[in-house]
């Protein structure tokens, strides 16, 4: 097995020692590049009270290319599609190797607080978010209750 870059070891240690509030990221037992992530829905958002599972994978050329991140828990959000793929600029063309797992997950948490229906990934969700925000927020709360509050 190819040895793990120092940077990945360091980031992992820091994530475990000084976790980000509301976010947990734990490397998989059998693959240190694959992380099991849980993001808590931000307060005062339709996702409040939910625990959202994500998977994060550090590709071979990380940090030269961005981590691959996807929601595993279903979520009603204009910038996240039904497969859990996320529309976030820093995961695509605005990636920089100065960003880290920590900053990526913080940005995803911020995206939950600030949905952007003008830059949609889930078209139907974005459409409703624009024409009837109250209804969209009701749906988001309902999905949060149904899929992100197992216990």
């Amino acid at each position: 097995m190819v040895s793990l870059p120092r940077r990945i070891i360091k980031e992992t240690q820091r994530l475990l020692q000084e976790p980000v509030p509301g976010i947990s990221a734990v490397p998989d037992d059998s693959n240190a590049r694959y992380f099991h992530v849980i993001v808590t829905g931000p307060d005062d958002s339709p996702f409040e009270g939910g625990l959202f599972k994500l998977e994060l994978f550090l590709p071979e050329d990380y940090p030269m290319s961005a981590p691959k991140v996807r929601f595993v828990t279903k979520i009603y959000h204009p910038n996240i599609d039904r497969l859990g793929r996320i529309c976030l600029d820093i995961l695509k063309d605005k990636w920089s190797p100065a960003l880290q797992i920590r900053t990526v997950l913080l940005s995803i948490q911020a995206l939950l607080s600030a949905p952007n229906p003008d830059d949609p990934l889930a078209n139907d969700v974005a459409e409703l978010w624009k024409v009837d925000e109250a209804e969209a927020i009701r749906n988001a709360k309902e999905w949060t209750r149904r899929y992100a509050m197992e216990n």
């Binding site: 940077r7 691959k68 910038n79 920089s96 100065a98």
Partner: protein, 141 residues
């Protein structure tokens, strides 16, 4: 932001384990031509090509970029307290390390930043384009 809709189909759905159950068994015969060999280049951050797959335009772009990188000053780390760690590899600088200075005065290990600059001509820390002025003077000279 933007453009996600258009490009979403190229995303990897399953990051590691086929959690949505569509992991196909790879039964394709081996490719009829030998796999491309040689160094891999990144004409754009998300596009990787081996040297013999580059279009002429991309070759020019990369050659230019290689030339431009050589115009950026290098030196050895002098123990300056302001920059303690290379943010790319997250390893602390040691006096005598080869470093490259960008116009915005951010410094990195030469091998770390050169790898990035070959993909994107921006400073990883401040996202400033690495001197558009340098680019124009180089192109017109």
């Amino acid at each position: 932001m933007g453009n996600c809709l258009k490009r979403s189909s190229s995303d990897d759905i399953s990051l590691l384990r086929g959690s949505d159950g569509n992991s196909e068994v790879q039964t394709d015969p081996p490719p009829p031509y030998p796999e491309p060999v040689g160094p891999v280049y990144y004409p754009s951050p998300n596009i990787s090509r081996s040297v013999n797959q580059l279009t002429e335009e991309e070759q020019i772009k990369i050659a230019k970029r290689m030339g431009l990188i050589q115009h950026l000053p290098t030196g050895t780390y002098d123990g300056c307290k302001k920059n303690r760690e290379c943010v790319i590899c997250m390893v602390e600088f040691i006096v005598g390390d080869n470093v490259r200075y960008l116009p915005c005065m951010h410094i990195y290990h030469v091998h770390c930043i050169d790898d990035w600059l070959m993909r994107s001509f921006t400073c990883p820390s401040c996202m400033e384009p690495v001197d558009a002025a340098l680019l124009t003077s180089y192109e017109t000279s």
